[in-house]
């Protein structure tokens, strides 16, 4: 696929940003930070209404038949708006796992937004545990997946578990699962410990195939997230630039001081490198290059968003650390997105394994 956006893709980018600009509300997002279990319903309604849930699913399953590039552009707009509801990414990831395993029964409901799905892979510092603490035997799951993204509201989950020490990937209905909310610094991500207690589940893959599929799904979600991170970082760059142009000190706009303008120019560099990596990764979907491209996108996007949130607050001075000004929405989101879909340490290791020819 080309690394230049075509007209349709550009329209998706413009339209998603326009819709979110019109409908997102900082006050609403700030309020969500102080409650556990709240989702930004207007965002999710918009996502369903705009067909974003269906975007990257095949047409025969109620989707729009588009791919990572298009979903990435929507994620970028969502990132710029720090808009809530994690299901844009994890719903896509779960659907990709179900699709790859040929378990397509729920896909139409996911595309239409009637059901919410998530992905439960990570266990603490292991984004992709080869020996999960959650066991799968006789069609049933037992054990706890900690801090699952969207875990408080998801209807089903794709779970990385293990059978006698062998990795398995299963799909589980979450109706009867015990969910323990995890109060966090970014509450609208709906983190919850999922406690499986004889929960019925369907096996999607096992052994190396299970880990391989989980890794592919994680890489896809990482690319979506990287776009979201670029969107957030770019929004912060613009906020910092605008502030530096209007705020005056010592008789001139602070943007005239090199300590400020160089900081902002450096951000531009980080963001453009990350953006180019995102575009390349999305365009490499389904090719041999994809995993390395995804790692590049993920590493550079995490660095860009973290740095942008750090520097943008710094450029604002005191006003930047106030609750109402809301820069902390980005700061929190930069870190929650940085942890979700594999942290920097994980992607560094994965990338080097690939480059050094030590891949599993």
């Amino acid at each position: 696929m080309s690394m230049l956006y075509d007209e349709g893709q550009q329209a998706i980018a413009t339209e998603s940003r326009r819709v979110l600009d019109a409908r997102m509300d900082k006050g609403r997002l700030l309020a969500l930070l102080e409650q556990v279990g709240g989702i930004d319903q207007p965002f999710w309604d918009t996502a369903v209404e705009q067909g974003w849930t269906a975007l990257a699913l095949p047409e025969e399953h109620g989707g729009l038949g588009l791919g990572l590039t298009e979903l990435g552009l929507v994620a970028q707009a969502a990132g710029a708006a720090t808009s809530g509801a994690p299901f844009l990414t994890v719903g896509y990831g779960a659907a990709q796992a179900l699709l790859a395993a040929g378990h397509t029964g729920d896909l139409a409901a996911l595309a239409g937004g009637e059901k919410l799905a998530t992905v439960a892979f990570a266990e603490g510092s292991a984004p992709l545990p080869a020996k999960s603490v959650v066991s799968f035997a006789d069609g049933k799951l037992n054990g706890t997946k900690p801090a699952v993204i969207g875990g408080l509201k998801a209807d089903l989950a794709v779970v990385l578990a293990s059978t006698n020490g062998t990795p398995v990937l299963v799909a589980a209905d979450l109706t009867d699962v015990t969910r323990t909310a995890v109060p966090s610094f970014d509450n609208s991500r709906l983190y919850a410990d999922l406690v499986f207690n004889g929960t019925p589940a369907v096996q999607l893959a096992e052994g190396a195939a299970a880990l391989g599929l989980a890794r592919d799904v994680l890489a896809r979600m990482a690319v979506v997230t990287a776009h979201e991170q670029v969107g957030g970082a770019e929004a912060l760059l613009n906020i910092a630039r605008d502030y530096a142009l209007t705020r005056k000190a010592f008789g001139q706009p602070i943007g005239a001081f090199q300590s400020i303008k160089h900081r902002i120019a450096e951000l531009y560099g980080l963001i453009e490198v990350a953006r180019a990596n995102c575009i390349h990764a999305a365009a490499s979907e389904g090719t041999e290059e994809f995993l390395i491209a995804a790692a590049d996108a993920r590493l550079s996007a995490t660095e860009a968003y973290d740095t942008a949130s750090r520097d943008c607050v710094q450029i604002h001075g005191g006003i930047g650390v106030t609750w109402d000004q809301g820069l902390h929405l980005h700061m929190r989101r930069a870190r929650s997105l940085g942890i979700e879909q594999g942290n920097l340490l994980f992607w560094e290791d994965l990338l080097v394994d690939q480059l050094a020819g030590e891949a599993a």
Partner: protein, 401 residues
């Protein structure tokens, strides 16, 4: 296969045929003079094979092809380490400027052909002791002298001036107006009476840059390029002209693969360094950064192919790549410990961490320092204010020294 890809393959076939005689291994142990002689031979062969002046008009001995063809050829050629360094600036800026502004068109045509064939070399005389990044602060002056001009002053950091036949130069023709308004642009015969070139030995041991002194050097008025007082505009044109150059996300230092190889071969705490987290982190971060630069380049190429203007993100290449080359080279030396101490100042910078490290600062300063590039991005791309400039609008001769 696309037409461009076919062209690339033709170029590769030519380069493969040339490699045994001219590529990096064949140059091993050459003195600079031997290398220059070899370079001139290669340039003539390249001209005869139709790979010279690729994106220039056929009227001036060019091939009349697109910028993309030129970039494609340059990128291929860069892999071979051909002896083309002496001619890079010559053909990059001064000669194209002569094509644009040279008054005597027959003279220009003759010069262009000789420059393309490597028979003549042009230098670019811009920086001075009083003005590098601040080009318009230059002091080399011209005064009317009969129907021509008389020039006095000094330039510095002039690449390959010691081998140059001609140069293009920015001079001050009127010190009574604001600094960038009193400049005039000329070409100068580097062999003329009153021109003295003194090589400057750089930290890495080589001397490709020079001081150039002008003592009552006579310039005819037909050596003037552009209008009297229009020199600053031409200087900007000169710096813009070479936008379509091959980039190198390795910052013209060693490829990351070489670092990975080194990390696999080097033992650290009793195990291969490639297993050490610090080394792994450096590899991964560098890979992500370089891959991003490569994707920026690929997108720029695609945009040009589609007849679009590439985005301003291309201006990041040198800034980001050379800095990272400098740090990675330091790390490569550090990783080897005392094994990094043996040093060969003639080792190839794209294959050797020692020379890459020692020469990296030049890359961060020449062709726009990091700081100037950051200012340019901040001001031109992001719309941030210009720095405070106390000399703005003041006649040059009234600016406090």
């Amino acid at each position: 296969m696309s037409e461009l890809e076919t062209y690339r393959q033709t170029a590769r076939a030519f380069l493969n045929a040339m490699a045994p005689k001219y590529a990096r291994p064949a140059r091993q142990g050459n003195t600079v003079e031997q290398d220059l002689a070899l370079g001139r031979e290669y340039m003539a062969a390249r001209y005869d094979a139709g790979f010279a002046g690729i994106n220039w008009s056929p009227e001036f001995g060019g091939q009349g092809l697109s910028n993309l063809h030129k970039i494609a050829f340059d990128a291929e050629e860069m892999r071979y380490g051909m002896p083309v360094g002496f001619f890079g600036i010559s053909l990059g800026m001064p000669v194209p400027m002569m094509i644009h502004y040279g008054q005597d068109r027959e003279f220009v045509k003759e010069r262009v052909t000789k420059a393309l064939r490597g028979e003549e070399i042009w230098c670019q005389l811009f920086s001075e002791p009083s003005g590098g990044s601040d080009l318009a602060a230059l002091r080399t002056k011209v005064e009317p002298d009969g129907n021509g001009w008389r020039m006095n002053g000094q330039k510095v950091w002039t690449s390959w001036a010691q081998y140059a036949d001609y140069g293009v130069i920015v001079t001050r023709s009127d010190p009574t107006v604001a600094k960038h308004k009193g400049l005039t642009y000329f070409w100068v015969d580097m062999k003329a009476a009153g021109v003295e070139v003194r090589p400057i030995k750089l930290a890495g041991g080589d001397s490709h840059v020079n001081e150039v002194f002008f003592d009552d050097v006579r310039l005819e008025d037909n050596q003037r390029m552009g209008e009297v007082g229009g020199g600053f505009g031409l200087a900007l044109h000169t710096l813009m002209i070479e936008r379509y150059i091959a980039t190198d996300s390795a910052g013209f230092g060693p490829h990351l693969d070489l670092f990975v190889k080194l990390a696999k071969e080097t033992q650290l705490n009793g195990r291969p360094a490639i297993e050490d987290g610090r080394i792994r982190s450096a590899i991964a971060r560098n890979h992500a950064m370089r891959a991003g630069l490569d994707s920026i380049t690929q997108r720029a190429m695609l945009m040009m192919q589609a007849g679009m203007q590439p985005g301003p993100e291309g201006s990041l290449q040198k800034l980001v790549a050379v800095r990272s080359r400098q740090k990675l080279s330091e790390l490569a030396l550090d990783l080897q410990g005392t094994a990094a101490l043996p040093f060969d100042q003639h080792a190839y910078v794209k294959e050797d961490w020692g020379t890459s490290w020692l020469n990296a600062p030049t890359g961060r300063i020449a062709g726009g320092s990091d700081e100037v590039l950051l200012n340019t991005i901040a001001e031109k791309v992001l719309g941030l204010p210009q720095d405070y400039r106390p000399d703005k609008g003041i006649p040059f001769n009234q600016i406090p020294a």
